[in-house]
């Protein structure tokens, strides 16, 4: 059997920081190759080199023994390498169909873009992924999960022999992941080579054949997955066995910290009520787009519900809140909101870690007051979050995806809020860091804080939380103690509603 | 014989007659005027006021339409076309450039509307009659003054107006004319855009670069004031410098008593244009070309016009009534 692609002794440094040191990787047709490693291990960098985004400092890439190199993504694509990048990169002002065909639009004899063909094909491609979106919708109007799907559709729709999927499932829930896995298997069966990057252990074991582990930019090893167990894989990545992913739950809770009453998300939806007590971590679970996010965002004015009220530490506020002032109003009552979309809503990619970490501290103060350095807060956050970064002056955009997520969380932890509203606490975070974030959240609750969290990873919700509300059709259909919840009964509740 | 303005003469050569009665029309009349730029500077504002005042004085003119091209050729073409569309009885034009309005002037005349031109020549002769203060003459009056003061030799600075403006080029040509055959050299030549601030910048730079200068040819009053201020600021003697008929400059001239001449270029040309249009509509005989080449003013003449109680921005000579002068220009 010929090796489709060989990457030999690839090294790459950014400025002074080395991202890859002599990493080799062999991709075979008809197989799914998992690439694993902690945040900042160099997975994305390695794949960006294969995709023509970066040029290696040293090392070579061969296809069937012939040396190849790409000056830019277009060359790589033309060569048959299609990539779903980790950071969502669709163009917001273009429709789904246009995004799908960008760079390879069909034209008719007169040079006109064949929109009809694009539309039909797009509808098909989306249908294969189980989606019924209108191909003429602008991407800016899609939810983040829908965007991720379009991104995937774009990647796997290409006429390519090598597919790179860099954390494609970070914004997807379990059922969606299964749809994607079916596709990956189909591509594999067609003889394509697939690189699959994910921090979710179960996915790796579900679809992949081989795994390569990177650590600190160096190759740890490549093994067939049939020889591995989750435990041994984690040990290979982290260098030790991870005993407990989730910390122990709390026993007793304090007063009610957050009380949502008679919240009608839409004029026609059934009112819902939710309460969170001090010391408690409460989750909103459910299928994609059923209203969980609207509940959370209604609390900060980002979504305008039809009616309702919220009581925070005894103070009642009528909803909807103003979009402009909602966040600040909540901040003033020591409530922090962590948005899910770290690239667009979360981080200042071009600014330093220090700036990113300290913005919320600054924003609670008067404009004309003196700006503080917050050096100690920044240092302790970097330490407690275990951020892999050379120093606090480097731009956040140059961090790996997972480390970016840590910075985002760190910003809101630093505000000393006592109620956290979190969307996706561990999106794209490696398993070691996940465990640390869970511990931080639990410690926060134990210190008297309350947490309302939203996640697409059902296992995470079960393990992390105390209580779970299942949301369907813009209302709460049931609530359960996390200790008694299973993936099955949550899904059951969500579906049978 | 129609009297248009003091100092206006009729050149004898190549000067056809506009036959009597050709454009005769019964009153009331609507007269249109296309200005190259009403708000270009205080002089152009005054031209507009002089024209409006003259039109208001004649009760047979029921409507006077003043349009402003704002130094934009395209807009002037459009303005003239709009006036034709409104079927005005006569059009007065201050052309933005010597060619840009030609086509639309031809259109107006073809539509039977007489066209009076002033404060700017054009290359075509499609218009009906024109009153032109020779810009060359204006520049030459200033040039001759310098030649006389310097006894035909020395170094001068030249402060020009707006680059690319025909008025600037023609005034400059007048200077070149008077320098012919003398030993006067142009040591520096800069555009001050007829503006106080730009001219001041230029003069400061020139002075600091090389303060030795025997005379200054300045093509506008605000520039003269700026340059004189620069010399005063550096405590230097003010060399002979040319100026024009502006109240602010006159005040400075009288107070500091330096050597200067004032070229005359009356804003009342605005009124003269109205009088020419009226004469045509009355059916009087006019000449095609009227020249406005008055001699320069000396300090004594300036003193007779200078008005302490009025602001710097009145231009002399003016036909505005005492009331209007007070209304527009009274100090504080």
């Amino acid at each position: 059997m010929t090796n489709l692609i060989e990457m030999l002794k690839i090294s790459k440094a950014f400025g002074g920081s080395v991202a890859l040191r002599g990493v080799s990787l062999t991709l075979e047709p008809g197989s799914v190759h998992a690439l694993m490693g902690e945040n900042g291990a160099g997975k994305s960098t390695l794949m960006k080199i294969l995709a023509g985004v970066h040029q290696p400092d040293s090392g070579e890439i061969y296809k069937n023994g012939h040396r190849i190199s790409f000056a830019n993504p277009r060359d790589a694509l033309a060569f048959g390498i299609s990539t779903v990048f980790q950071e969502l990169s669709l163009l917001p002002n273009m429709t789904i169909a246009e995004n799908l065909f960008l760079g390879r639009e069909p034209v008719n004899r007169l040079g006109f873009v064949d929109r009809k063909h694009m539309r039909l094909h797009t509808r098909e491609a989306l249908a294969k992924l189980g989606l019924t979106l209108d191909p003429n919708m602008l991407v800016s109007e899609l939810s983040i999960a829908e965007r991720q799907f379009v991104e995937i559709a774009h990647g796997i729709d290409a006429d390519a022999s090598i597919f790179i999927l860099d954390e494609p499932t970070a914004a997807l829930n379990a059922t969606d992941v299964e749809v994607l896995n079916a596709h990956i298997r189909r591509l594999r069966d067609e003889g394509k080579a697939i690189v699959y990057i994910s921090h979710r252990m179960e996915e790796i074991f579900n679809v992949c054949d081989t795994v390569t582990v990177l650590k600190d930019g160096q190759l740890v090893g490549t093994r067939p997955l049939s020889e591995m167990t989750p435990g041994s894989l984690i040990a290979m990545m982290v260098g030790r066995e991870l005993e407990d992913l989730f910390p122990a739950r709390a026993g007793a809770f304090g007063d009610v910290a957050l009380e949502i009453e008679h919240l009608k998300l839409e004029a026609t939806s059934k009112p819902l009520s939710i309460s969170v007590r001090k010391g408690e971590i409460v989750a909103l679970a459910g299928l994609e787009g059923q209203g969980q996010q609207k509940v959370l965002r209604a609390l900060v004015g980002e979504y305008s519900p039809f009616s309702g009220s919220v009581t925070i530490k005894g103070k009642t506020i009528r909803l909807p809140l103003s979009k402009e002032a909602g966040i600040r109003q909540m901040q003033a009552s020591s409530v922090a909101f962590v948005p899910e979309d770290r690239k667009d809503e979360g981080l200042f990619l071009g600014l330093s870690l220090a700036h990113n970490l300290s913005t919320s501290l600054h924003s609670s103060r008067n404009e004309l007051s003196r700006a503080q350095g917050f050096a100690d807060v920044i240092a302790s956050t970097l330490r407690s979050m275990n951020v892999k970064a050379a120093n606090a002056r480097m731009p956040v955009g140059s961090l790996s995806g997972g480390n970016q997520q840590k910075i985002l969380l760190g910003r809101y932890f630093a505000t000393k809020a006592d109620l956290l509203l979190i969307e996706e606490p561990t999106r794209g975070v490696d398993i070691g860091a996940k465990s640390e974030i869970y511990k931080l959240l639990r410690a926060f609750a134990e210190g008297g804080g309350a947490v309302l969290v939203l996640s697409r990873e059902t296992l995470e919700l079960i393990g992390l939380c105390d209580r779970i509300y299942v949301i369907h059709g813009d209302t709460v259909v049931t609530q359960m103690q996390a200790a008694e919840a299973t993936e099955h009964n949550i899904l059951d509740a969500a579906l049978s509603a | 014989e129609v009297k248009l303005l003091d100092g206006v003469t009729t050149p004898s050569e190549n000067n056809p007659t506009v036959e009597a009665g050709k454009y005769k029309k019964d009153a009331p009349w609507v007269i249109g005027m296309s200005s190259f730029g009403v708000n270009a500077n205080t002089w152009t504002v005054q031209v507009a006021h002089e024209a409006e005042a003259a039109a208001a004085r004649d009760k047979r003119i029921t409507k006077f339409v003043l349009l402003d091209a704002g130094f934009d050729q395209k807009k002037q073409v459009a303005d003239i076309e709009d006036l034709i569309a409104q079927k005005v009885d006569a059009i007065i034009i201050q052309p933005v450039t010597s060619t840009s309005a030609d086509a639309s002037i031809e259109k107006a005349v073809a539509a039977g509307i007489p066209v009076v031109l002033h404060t700017g020549r054009i290359e075509s002769d499609a218009f009906t009659t024109e009153i032109q203060g020779g810009a060359e003459h204006f520049g030459k009056v200033m040039g001759d003054f310098l030649v006389k003061e310097l006894n035909g030799k020395g170094n001068i600075w030249v402060l020009r107006g707006l680059a690319g403006h025909p008025e600037d080029t023609n005034r400059y040509n007048g200077l070149v004319e008077s320098l012919k055959g003398t030993d006067i050299k142009i040591a520096a030549e800069e555009n001050g855009d007829w503006q106080y601030d730009k001219a001041k910048k230029v003069c400061e730079t020139l002075y600091l670069n090389d303060p030795n200068v025997d005379g200054i040819w300045s093509s506008g009053a605000d520039m003269t004031r700026a340059c004189v201020d620069v010399f005063k600021q550096f405590g230097a003697a003010i060399p002979p410098i040319s100026g024009e008929g502006n109240n602010g400059f006159f005040g400075q001239w009288i107070k500091d008593n330096f050597k200067s001449v004032s070229s005359e270029y009356s804003p009342a040309q605005g009124a003269a244009g109205i009088r020419a249009a009226v004469a045509l509509l009355e059916g009087k005989e006019l000449k095609k070309h009227y020249a406005y080449n008055p001699p320069g003013w000396d300090l004594e003449k300036a003193k007779t016009y200078y008005r302490e109680d009025l602001s710097a921005n009145v231009w002399w000579p003016s036909e505005l009534s005492e009331d209007q002068l007070k209304e527009f220009y009274s100090k504080q």
Binding site: E98, L138, D344 | D68, K74, A78, E123, P166
Partner: protein, 311 residues
């Protein structure tokens, strides 16, 4: 909906243009007569052509401040003492070169569009003033004839307008290039040129082409203007770039890139044209015309409330 929301807010200026037309038709006797209407087309044409070119650059998130100078430059070249078959191709070649240099400096040498095109504005204006210090010269017969008169009862300026719009329409909506223009602009507005390049779009080449298109359209406007003023003039295009940008923005095109439309740009030009023609016909004194223009502009943008804060 689909493409609708990428086209910017052009419905409001359209309504405004219609209202203004009705108002003028009733309030003044001359507005609706054919003479005035064809004047209106001819008066607005140079601005329309330049604004359409400018729109391409704005859509990729740039700005072209050099178009006014290119217009003047074109009239100066046309007024050189040379036959039409020499000067006519020459103006387009030279404009192409100017656009190329703009685009090259911006995409390859990483110069900010405002700096690159402002510098170009100075350079081209300087060269124009050397070529033709004051207005004058004569324009080839062919050019003057092409803007005057009519063919089969259709006035020449109308034909110019239709042809220009058709070319722009084909470029923007009838080709891959047009789609890429929007894609690149969308990326730039969202913060990176790389976004479109990651899709394999030759972003920098396409941006460069937008500047070439802008310059070529400016040259076309210059040819039209030269035919109308029948001479070369170093100042004829002065400040035209600001009018062009204003027209583009009134038409709902966002200056941050990626959102806008051809019809919007044309409507923007119509609004500006109706404004100055209307005020002339209504005999609004020149001392308040400027203020009225400003207030109306302000009204248009105030009512076009967008999602984004900024340019």
């Amino acid at each position: 909906m689909g493409r609708g929301s990428r086209q910017g807010l052009w419905a409001l200026p359209l309504i405004l243009a219609v209202l203004m037309s009705f108002f003028l038709a009733f309030a003044t006797a001359q507005f609706a007569n054919s003479g005035n209407l064809s004047n209106l087309v001819a008066q607005g044409m140079p601005l329309m052509i330049t604004a359409i070119g400018q729109m391409f650059v704005v859509l990729v998130g740039g700005l072209d401040l050099s178009v006014g100078s290119v217009v003047s430059f074109t009239t100066a070249i046309l007024a050189l003492d040379a036959p039409a078959y020499v000067v006519l191709p020459a103006v387009f070649i030279l404009a192409g070169v100017i656009g190329f240099i703009n685009g090259f400096c911006i995409t390859r040498l990483k110069v900010h569009p405002i700096i690159a095109t402002l510098s170009m504005q100075y350079v081209v204006l300087g060269i124009t003033r050397i070529l033709r210090p004051v207005s004058g010269g004569s324009i080839p017969e062919f050019v003057t004839a092409s803007v005057a008169g009519s063919i089969a009862g259709i006035p020449m300026p109308v034909i110019w307008g239709v042809v220009t719009i058709a070319i722009a329409w084909k470029l923007l909506y009838g080709s891959r290039y047009g789609l890429h223009i929007f894609a690149i602009g969308g990326g730039v507005a969202a913060g990176s040129t790389e976004a479109a390049r990651n899709f394999g779009i030759p972003a920098r080449r396409n941006i460069m082409l937008a500047y070439v298109i802008s310059a070529l359209f400016a040259a076309l406007a210059g040819v039209f203007l030269a035919g109308r003023i029948v001479s070369g003039d170093p100042n004829v295009g002065l400040l035209m770039e600001l009018d062009a940008i204003t027209a583009v923005a009134i038409g709902g095109t966002q200056l941050s890139g990626g959102v806008g439309s051809l019809q919007g740009t044309v409507i923007g030009v119509v609004v500006l044209g109706l404004l100055s023609n209307g005020m002339n016909l209504m005999n609004v004194t020149p001392f308040v015309q400027t203020a009225v223009k400003g207030i109306l502009l302000m009204l248009v943008v105030a009512l076009q409330s967008r999602k984004k804060i900024g340019l």
